[in-house]
């Protein structure tokens, strides 16, 4: 395909879609599929055919529509009417021509003007729920691969990097390193071979943003990677994706094949001189592989153990060559930045954190699902306006950043979502999991839960992490059994400092965060466990396990 042909294809597909009477989108993300979305989709298609409207109505599967708590979701009337908890018995009503009101489905209707939708700003998720992830033409009709074409035709690699620097985009994997600077660092290395790696090893429990992006809009990630490959001078990219994400893997494989067939990946992309291949690497279930040096070891077929940095991967990464590693969401931000300009992107968000952030809302919250908000949005807005608050309970804490993050209490809910602000209150931005806990959750047990996770996932290479997480878990476990002592709190604090200062990689360095933040904001709960042998939340049994 040439650039010319890409534009023609876009125009033709747009025209075809506009000529249709209606497009009915069925959410076929993992959440909705497990509520029966596949059966629903074929039921609707069959009803459309039975009604004799098959040539005028198109039924397509899409990525995540966001409101996972109401799945399976169907977006009808070409994107203006959303229905939730749809069953196959509703298919006939959906397929009938008396759209778009469909009075019989009134109770399934979800208001698209509700705060859940109105307070969001979708850049990364712009196509999610509107584009069929298994059809390349759908992505192209939505303007896909235009940014890549523009970069190849009109821009020098240095200009692309400059644009990304202007945008102020920071790494969405959690640490928030400026993306433009990282690209520049890789491009400056003197080496004939460079690599681009997409980190899709989304290991934080409670986070499913990257999964949704890969399942809902895989081509966007491929396009972002190809643009980065051009900018830093790499010809080979890898996507390291979690083995648990079967659907995402399958859709990525399809997308890569489609793009290669149309010369949007591979050698001589869009008949330019630039070639870029992308291969998948499937993870094998190790949380530590989210750490960049461990991820590199894993791609090389070794145990996923991190190594000392520096040298950082931009200098010496995969097979000791300069390597650019970015997260899924970071790559997904690149095509719109190229299309609309770095200045446009920099106009969104706060002084130091630009653009938007995707969050996965879960736990004790009314609207479980996937959302995207501008940086700087207060947590209260996210949880209570968009998330719909805590059903039937009292809000206690919001957990961000998974096992590396912290618990945020009610009095700090007006904190804006931005890298520095969250770090200041003892949590981190993390990759975007946001889990709400109500008063039935015990904070000591939450800390124990995360420490158990880090203990299990510690790779065992460095002693502070390998032994320290075991010691900290043991103390916390004893507390939840009512066997904690006064000295334990001091010991926890000492060990926390030790792990943070001396661990080799991020896993060990941040493992104490959940303990530190709960000690900071919920200390009376720890004290009640120790002094009164009581769990204020009524969660811990406070008795030693009977050994069988």
């Amino acid at each position: 395909m040439t650039t010319e042909e890409l534009y023609q294809l876009q125009a033709a597909e747009e025209e075809r879609q506009q000529a249709l009477e209606e497009r009915i989108y069925c959410c076929t993300a993992a959440g909705c599929i497990s509520c029966g979305a596949e059966g629903l989709r074929s039921a609707i298609a069959a009803e459309v055919k039975a009604a004799g409207r098959a040539d005028k109505v198109e039924v397509c599967g899409t990525g995540c529509m966001g409101m996972c708590s109401r799945g399976p979701l169907v977006l009808a009337a070409s994107g203006t009417a959303l229905y939730g908890n749809v069953t196959p018995s509703d298919a006939a009503a959906l397929a009938r021509a008396d759209a778009p009101d469909r009075p019989s489905l009134a109770e399934r209707r979800i208001d698209l003007q509700a705060p859940f939708f109105a307070r969001q700003m979708r850049i990364v998720l712009a196509n999610s729920g509107r584009v069929d992830p298994e059809k390349l033409t759908d992505y192209i009709a939505a303007g896909g691969y235009r940014s890549l074409a523009q970069v190849l035709a009109d821009m020098q690699p240095a200009q692309v990097i400059e644009e990304v620097k202007t945008s102020g985009l920071r790494g969405r994997g959690g640490a928030g390193y400026p993306t433009g600077l990282k690209w520049e660092l890789v491009s400056r290395q003197i080496s004939p071979t460079r690599y681009v790696v997409c980190n899709a090893d989304e290991g934080d429990p409670g986070a499913f943003m990257d999964r949704s992006v890969l399942e809902g809009d895989p081509h966007r990630v491929l396009e972002g990677m190809a643009i980065s490959g051009y900018a830093v001078g790499a010809q080979q990219g890898y996507i390291y994706v979690r083995g648990e994400y079967g659907l995402a893997i399958q859709r990525l494989q399809t997308a890569i094949k489609q793009a290669e067939r149309e010369h949007l990946l591979g050698s001589r992309i869009l008949e330019s001189g630039f070639g870029f291949r992308i291969d998948l690497r499937i993870g094998a279930g190790a949380f530590v592989c989210g750490e960049e040096t461990a991820l590199i070891a894993s791609i090389e077929g070794k145990r996923g153990q991190p190594r000392q940095r520096p040298p950082y991967p931009p200098e010496s990464g995969l097979w000791n060559q300069p390597t650019l590693i970015n997260n899924v969401e970071t790559f997904a931000n690149i095509p719109p930045i190229v299309e609309k300009g770095g200045k446009w992107f920099a106009g969104i968000g706060t002084a130091a954190s630009k653009g938007t952030k995707v969050f996965a809302l879960a736990g004790k919250i009314a609207n479980t699902g996937l959302i995207e908000v501008p940086m700087g949005t207060p947590l209260r807005t996210i949880l209570f306006e968009i998330g719909g608050g805590v059903p039937g309970g009292k809000f206690k804490a919001a957990q961000t950043g998974g096992p590396s993050g912290g618990c945020i209490p009610e009095q700090l809910l007006d904190t804006p979502v931005d890298y520095e602000a969250l770090t200041r209150i003892g949590s981190i931005m993390g990759s975007g999991g946001l889990i709400v806990m109500d008063d039935s959750s015990c904070m000591v047990d939450v800390a124990r839960f995360f420490m158990e996770f880090c203990m299990d996932e510690s790779c065992g290479k460095c002693i502070p992490c390998r032994a320290g997480t075991v010691q900290m878990h043991d103390i916390l476990r004893r507390m939840t059994l009512g066997e904690g002592s006064e000295d334990d709190l001091a010991m926890l604090e000492e060990l926390s400092g030790l792990l943070r200062e001396t661990s080799l990689c991020g896993l060990g360095q941040t493992a104490p965060n959940p303990v530190m933040s709960t000690l900071r904001y919920f200390r009376p709960e720890y004290e009640a466990h120790i002094a009164q042998h009581e769990c204020p939340a009524g969660h811990c049994r406070m008795e030693a396990e009977v050994l069988a």
Partner: protein, 160 residues
């Protein structure tokens, strides 16, 4: 942690030969390169359901790696199982959202029921990414949403 999507079955001898061929093909596709070890182990586990010592030794030989390296990698990653699986597989998600929704209670119940003599291999997953369905359990590849203790007990009864 492994989420069984395809369940390996005991197969007649003729098919077993075929599996060896498929494994060989996977290795040759990667030009017997040592850095394809994880991909090869994925294939082997998909075909046989687990990695036996003999299988790992063969792979080590073919990829020209020390057997210790193969065992080291196979035992490092949760995905690889060194034990044969039982007839059914149940994965209880104990990610944060499922934990908040009471997954540890489910785990306790499942552990009691899936001891020695049971035909269900019990596993845990640290988040399967379906947090909207918490607590979630995967039974033979099917995701069960918002599982209660009663629901889990019924599912275990069904599996036998």
């Amino acid at each position: 942690m492994p989420i069984a999507e395809t369940k390996p079955q005991a197969q007649p001898a003729a098919v077993k030969d075929n599996r060896e061929k498929l494994l060989e093909r996977a290795m040759s596709r990667h030009q017997y390169a040592g850095d394809a070890l994880i991909e090869v182990l994925h294939t082997a586990q998909e075909l046989y359901g687990f990695l036996s010592p003999g299988r790992m030794r063969t792979i080590a030989h073919k990829l020209r790696l020390p057997p210790s390296r193969v065992l080291g990698v196979a035992s490092f990653y949760h995905f690889f199982s060194l034990q044969p699986k039982r007839e059914h597989t149940m994965v209880v998600c104990i990610g944060t959202a499922c934990y908040v929704a009471g997954a540890l209670g489910l785990m306790e119940l499942a552990q009691q029921r899936c001891g020695a003599g049971s035909n269900v291999s019990l596993q845990t997953a640290r988040c399967i990414g379906s947090c909207g369905l918490a607590p979630a359990v995967i039974s033979d590849g099917n995701i069960l949403a918002r599982v209660t203790r009663q629901g889990l007990a019924a599912e275990l009864d069904r599996l036998g």
